[in-house]
């Protein structure tokens, strides 16, 4: 199988990672102004023909690719090609970046000030930057940072400027453009703006893809974009969006460049600036439209401590080696390359697999702080309804246990080993004091804090049970967003643990079936590369056997004496998601006629009702992210069908038999093989 090469089986303990340096240290010891005005002479691509922003636009407008589409569109619409060219020029004008060193210097100055107040440190793996410099010299480079905060792309440019590396051009969503001044500032620091949706607009697509390709091919600047498409509100990696990746791989596939380096960058925040904002968004408080004034309101956050940021520049991935013995490049030989063609199945699946591989590379190099492990423990305790909270000692013990487990699974955990664990725990708790409450040596999530800092302006007193629940949920989802950072470490073992739990026997085949079902069910929820079920199963088995949790022989899977604790933990990792998907199935079973638009509000209402009556254990199933993913999975599996076009546009057609049996299978009431798999 092709993806076998992508996920080679290796011991995560042996994973070698670079050391970090704090880049703020120097900023605290020397003049920011001098730094902002420093001599900036980055290493450039060896094949670069330097050109100005305006020349770049000319190249796009005069390209054969765009020319072809312009002729096509002008014929279709019956307008002159000059008009269409004008239209294209306008699109380009709206889109194009105007990278200016002076603006970057301005940002370098201000961001230095801001970062020093907000963060204790910004840690970078300098070796990664050296590799990046080499990559930039040799080939066109695509930077692929993870996306957890608005901060990400300014931070990226800030780092590259600091280390004298070529400044990137960044694909940004149009929503930023709404902020007048800031939008222009971002444009001048290298952002170019893309409409969120331009479905069938051929001309827009042509301008956009040609613009990106020309900048990339000519080595004008590294091209930066977010594989996940948008900020992850849950801190789980989002399943990758393929459009831009497709575009940037195209010049290699068509032989226009020798190779392209894709550099995954993992940015982890010890405390996310948008923490509570995201939680409320997931709970249905709509996302505030980006506006300049809104950004300034955020000034309040300047007074808080957000800990440190870790940025890890991963190993550059060569598109050429990804494509080797995977893609037959001669498929492009028979059509002139400037004629836009729909990518073949082969290309699509290649791009898709590459995207998953890159997101996994981001995940693997994401630094995890001790707090992430504490979040696991605290959330599990909360769900178990331990009202008194957890004793600090017990919390520490569990955290240390989890620390060792996660390290065995290959987590990139930054746990200061020279400090006693109890101090590590208490300092983590104090950084996140908004989310926890410590009284009499016992710790629990700060759920009772009605109208507290998370929900400003709320009037005390007249609070409904529903509001109370939502307030609680804000804290729980905020906390979950930290736990989620480490989900990728545990997801395969957790799927196996749940499979063992639900399978009717300990026969390996049966457990595999169960694993496969769960994996398939949750592949919109977690980064699970399509088609890699066997590899994932093997990886999970390998980890659990290696850590002494399981013994596996030809036929059977046996749990060891000391394995029970690990398995209990692992099943509880997946439990909230299992329950979430079950309740979504239940909800759908009880519906008659529902449109896609009505889905989220309705399911939310349904869940709130059940939470209030105590029939649901996990408050976090209120997350709209989980609900959307569940629906997407059900559509993918065919249990729900989305009607396209006609009067019933957007209506969801429900296969209740299947939904029912899926619900039962998720709940472990039905064996995997007989029920759902038969339907699939």
């Amino acid at each position: 199988m092709a993806s076998k090469a992508v996920y080679s089986h290796r011991d995560p303990m042996l994973k070698k990672r670079d050391d970090f340096e704090d880049m703020l240290e120097e900023r605290r010891n020397s003049s920011d102004l001098r730094y902002a005005l420093k001599c900036y002479t980055p290493v450039l691509y060896k094949g670069l023909t330097p050109c100005k922003v305006s020349e770049l636009k000319q190249m796009v407008l005069q390209s054969d690719q765009l020319g072809y589409v312009i002729t096509q569109v002008s014929k279709e619409k019956g307008v002159t090609s000059d008009e269409v060219t004008g239209e294209a020029a306008a699109i380009l004008e709206e889109m194009a970046q105007r990278l200016q060193l002076s603006t970057v210097r301005f940002f370098a100055f201000t961001l230095s000030k801001v970062f020093k107040t907000l963060f204790r440190s910004i840690c970078i793996n300098e070796e990664g930057l050296q590799r990046l410099q080499q990559a930039i010299h040799n080939h066109p480079v695509v930077l692929l940072p993870s996306h957890r905060s608005y901060m990400d792309f300014l931070l990226m440019s800030y780092i590259l400027y600091t280390y004298d590396l070529a400044l990137p051009v960044i694909a940004a969503g149009m929503d930023f453009m709404g902020m007048k001044v800031v939008g222009e500032m971002l444009r001048m620091s290298g952002a170019f703006f893309i409409r969120r949706s331009f479905g069938g607009d051929k001309l827009y697509w042509a301008v956009f893809s040609e613009y990106v390709k020309i900048m990339l091919k000519n080595g004008y600047a590294p091209v930066e974009f977010f594989l996940e498409g948008t900020r992850s509100r849950t801190a789980k990696s989002l399943t990758p969006k393929l459009g831009l990746l497709n575009i940037v791989m195209d010049p290699f596939l068509k032989g226009e460049v020798f190779d392209i380096s894709l550099v995954p960058v993992s940015i982890s925040y010890e405390r996310t600036l948008e923490e509570a904002l995201y939680a409320r968004e997931l709970l249905g408080v709509p996302k505030p439209k980006e506006s300049t004034s809104g950004l300034f309101k955020a000034r309040k956050i300047l007074s808080e401590d957000y800990g440190s940021i870790h940025v890890y520049f991963g190993q550059p991935v060569s598109v050429r080696s990804l494509a080797e013995s995977r893609v037959n490049r001669s498929q492009f030989n028979l059509i002139p390359r400037h004629i836009p063609t729909r990518p073949s199945e082969e290309i699509l699946s290649f791009v898709n697999d590459s995207a998953y591989r890159l997101v996994r590379a981001q995940e693997e190099n994401m630094v995890l702080k001790p707090w992430v492990l504490l979040a696991f423990v605290l959330l599990q305790k909360q769900a178990a309804e331990e009202k008194q909270g957890t004793a600090l000692d017990e919390l520490t013990e569990q955290a240390v246990w989890l620390r060792d487990l996660s390290r065995q699974y290959g987590a990139f955990l930054h746990w200061p080993d020279h400090i006693p664990p109890s101090e590590v725990v208490s300092s983590s708790l104090s950084l996140h004091r908004g989310l926890v409450r410590i009284s009499e040596g016992r710790v629990q999530l700060a759920l009772e804090q009605v109208g507290g800092q998370q929900v400003p302006g709320e009037t005390r007193g007249a609070i409904t049970p529903e509001e109370e629940l939502l307030n609680k949920a804000v804290v729980i989802l905020s906390c979950a967003s930290y736990r989620n950072q480490a989900l990728n470490v545990f997801i395969r073992p957790a799927l196996l643990a749940s499979a063992i739990h639900t399978a009717a026997s300990n026969r390996k085949q049966e457990i595999y079936n169960s694993f496969s079902f769960l994996r398939n069910m949750f592949s919109n929820e977690f980064i699970l590369c399509p088609g890699a079920t066997v590899q994932d199963f093997e990886e999970a088995c390998y980890l659990l056997v290696k850590t002494g949790t399981l013994q596996i022989n030809q036929q059977e899977v046996l749990i060891t004496e000391r394995g029970h604790r690990t398995l209990a933990f692992l099943t509880s990792v997946l439990d909230p998601f299992l329950q979430g998907y079950q309740v979504v199935c239940r909800f759908l079973c009880e519906q008659d006629g529902l449109t896609e638009k009505q889905f989220i509000p309705a399911v939310r209402k349904f869940i709130i009702k059940h939470l209030l009556t105590g029939r649901l254990r996990y408050t976090e199933v209120l997350s709209s992210d989980l609900q959307k993913n569940a629906l997407a999975a059900l559509i993918r599996l065919g249990a729900v069908q989305k009607i396209k076009g006609g009067e019933e546009q957007g209506t969801l057609k429900l296969n209740k038999v299947m939904l029912n049996s899926l619900e039962d299978t998720l709940g472990g009431k039905l064996p995997t093989q007989k029920s759902v798999v038969a339907h699939l």
Partner: protein, 623 residues
């Protein structure tokens, strides 16, 4: 046929590969048998001639007396008297070799000086065949040297093995048919006794086409066409010549020149390659822009196959009689039969020839210029574009200048181009040009081409540079032997592609070579360079040269082959062809199916199955 043979033109037997300056060929004039047909020459007998292998190297390129070497002073010189460069000192070559390959004169890898006959396996002879062959009187030999000489072409691995004195499977017997009828007899006997025949022309193959298949158990007979080297007639009314297929390029041109004609077909190997070989591989000549490639030049072909003789019944210039059977023959690479006689177009010799050259600021501009020249269909007889590395290489091969004045002038030119015009010496590249025709038209044509070049930043760089460029074509093959004396191995390979892919293929293939060398453990950066050698309406032909210093490698030839393989994969992935004119042989067979589709393969196979069901022509090329 035989009655006619008293009045035919003929070279002195087996010395056909010799250079005219060295040996005159005998012959006296007789009357023309028919008006309009050129007076031809009487015959010299075949016996007591110097065999080819005595004037040709047995383990390297070309004539034994011509080679590059470093003299006692450590200067490079080219020996012999045959070429313009012969006897000259080439001062820049040593430094170029040392800096390009990190080669060192102290580190030598000399070749085995003489062939050790005991290393050659004794021949597997088919006695019945031999007996009947004897009765025909056709000359043959199973002497080890004769057999080894015809067992290879000029692929790197072939020459490398010979230099190390390693001899693989070689033909068991060599036969020298003298005419078409001799070939008919030999093929009949081969069929009767189930003997494997491998036609041999000039031996310049670079596709492993001449290698004996190691799995062949039958007796292998090398059919050397070199004695079939006569121009049978020249028809001035129709401007055609009927020629035996064993004739070698330079002899054909020289003989025709004497009558005021030429074919204009000048492949780089024309000193040694034969007409039959050109037909069998679909050869291409440097001046194809005026004269066409072999498929444009051929009017009629006669080929002997196991099924009998194939030929057309008339010499009409074009026919609509189903698929052209000539196209089964051209490119058949000796798998279907032996081409014995060919009627070719001829042209009056050009009145005037002029070389030229243009310097471009970079390769991209150069390619754009060639494309424009092709678009306007005004390509000179030849137009070639060398990349920067090759430009430097050509520079290193400049012979010692005789006067201070020339060297001063050279310095001035360099100053003008790099300083005054601002060309980057590490990016500029050169196009070499050859114009042919009547004087006025040539000058007019020249102006047109230089005007186009100027639009792409090209500067005229003189006749001399152009002429040297073409001269190098003939000596470059000798240079590989020098490299091999000092741990440097290399070869060239070619492809063709549409115009829009020229730059991409050049860049990607060169980069791929560099990367593969690195990956395969080559210790020093390789030479990886290319040139555009032919232009067409819809595309171009590109030649790659690739060489590296193999010190520190245990199996350099294997590394070389892996890199060349990767380079070919890169070419195909980027939309280049499997071959423009070298052919497929056995070296590139593995890509045939993807190149011409399974149905295409089936078509070719069914032709082979019909024409040669017992695989008498068993060199196993192509399919």
């Amino acid at each position: 046929m035989s009655g006619f043979s008293d009045n035919i033109m003929r070279l002195s037997g087996r010395m056909l590969s010799q250079y005219p300056a060295q040996r005159d060929w005998d012959g006296k004039l007789t009357m023309a048998p028919h008006p309009g047909i050129i007076p031809t020459f009487s015959i010299v007998t075949l016996s007591d001639n110097v065999p080819e292998q005595e004037i040709m190297k047995w383990n390297g390129w070309g004539y034994s007396d011509s080679k590059f070497l470093y003299n006692k002073k450590g200067q490079a010189e080219f020996t012999g008297k045959r070429y313009r460069l012969s006897g000259m000192i080439i001062p820049g070559l040593r430094e170029w070799m040392e800096s390009t390959f990190s080669a060192n004169l102290q580190h030598k890898t000399p070749a085995a000086p003489i062939l050790n006959s005991s290393a050659v396996q004794p021949p597997t002879l088919n006695e019945a065949f031999l007996k009947e062959l004897k009765s025909t009187g056709i000359p043959f030999s199973h002497d080890a040297e004769d057999r080894v000489f015809r067992s290879h072409g000029h692929c790197l691995h072939e020459i490398f093995a010979l230099r190390e004195g390693k001899i693989g499977r070689v033909p068991d017997l060599v036969v020298w048919p003298n005419c078409h009828n001799d070939v008919v007899k030999i093929v009949e006997l081969a069929c009767k006794h189930n003997v494997c025949l491998i036609p041999y022309g000039g031996g310049t193959s670079v596709s492993s086409a001449l290698e004996c298949p190691p799995e062949e158990t039958r007796s292998i007979v090398s059919l050397d066409t070199s004695q079939m080297n006569r121009i049978l007639w020249i028809d001035e009314k129709n401007l055609t010549a009927h020629v035996e297929a064993g004739i070698v390029g330079q002899d054909l041109e020289r003989l025709l020149n004497e009558s005021g004609y030429c074919t204009g077909h000048e492949p780089d190997s024309m000193e040694f390659s034969s007409l039959g070989g050109w037909v069998a591989t679909r050869a291409s000549g440097m001046k194809k822009n005026i004269y066409g490639n072999i498929e444009d030049l051929v009017v009629h072909i006669k080929m002997v196959t196991p099924r009998g003789v194939i030929e057309k019944s008339c010499q009409g210039p074009r026919m609509s009689t189903g698929p052209d059977v000539h196209h089964f023959i051209m490119g058949s690479e000796g798998t279907l039969g032996v081409v014995t006689e060919v009627t070719m177009k001829i042209r009056p010799m050009p009145e005037y020839q002029k070389y030229g050259s243009v310097v471009f600021p970079n390769f991209e501009m150069g390619v754009a210029c060639l494309r424009e020249v092709a678009r306007q269909r005004c390509a000179p007889a030849s137009i070639r574009l060398m990349d920067n590395e090759q430009f430097k290489f050509g520079h290193a091969l400049k012979p010692q200048v005789s006067s201070i004045f020339t060297s001063f002038l050279d310095g001035l030119k360099k100053f003008y181009i790099t300083k005054f015009k601002g060309f980057d010496p590490n990016r500029l590249c050169v196009a070499t040009l050859l114009f042919e025709g009547d004087r006025e038209k040539v000058l007019q044509h020249e102006k047109q081409v230089y005007d186009i070049a100027a639009k792409f930043g090209g500067l005229a760089a003189g006749e001399d540079n152009g002429q040297r460029g073409y001269m190098l074509t003939f000596v470059i093959a000798y240079l590989r032997d020098l490299g091999m004396d000092y741990y440097v191995i290399g070869e060239s390979f070619e492809t063709s592609m549409p115009w829009d892919r020229v730059l991409d293929i050049c860049r990607n293939v060169k980069a791929r070579i560099v990367r593969e060398c690195k990956d395969k453990g080559v210790q020093f950066p390789p030479l990886s360079t290319c040139r555009v050698t032919q232009t067409y309406d819809a595309g171009a032909c590109v030649y790659f040269y690739f060489a590296f210093n193999y010190r520190g490698l245990s199996d350099p030839v294997h590394v070389y082959e892996q890199v060349e393989h990767a380079a070919r994969e890169e070419i195909l992935a980027n939309g280049g062809s499997l071959s423009h004119h070298h052919g497929v042989g056995k070296l590139r067979k593995e890509w045939m199916r993807e190149s011409i589709s399974s149905v295409g393969m089936g078509m070719l196979k069914s032709v082979k199955d019909y024409v040669d069901p017992n695989n008498i022509f068993g060199n196993r090329n192509l399919l």
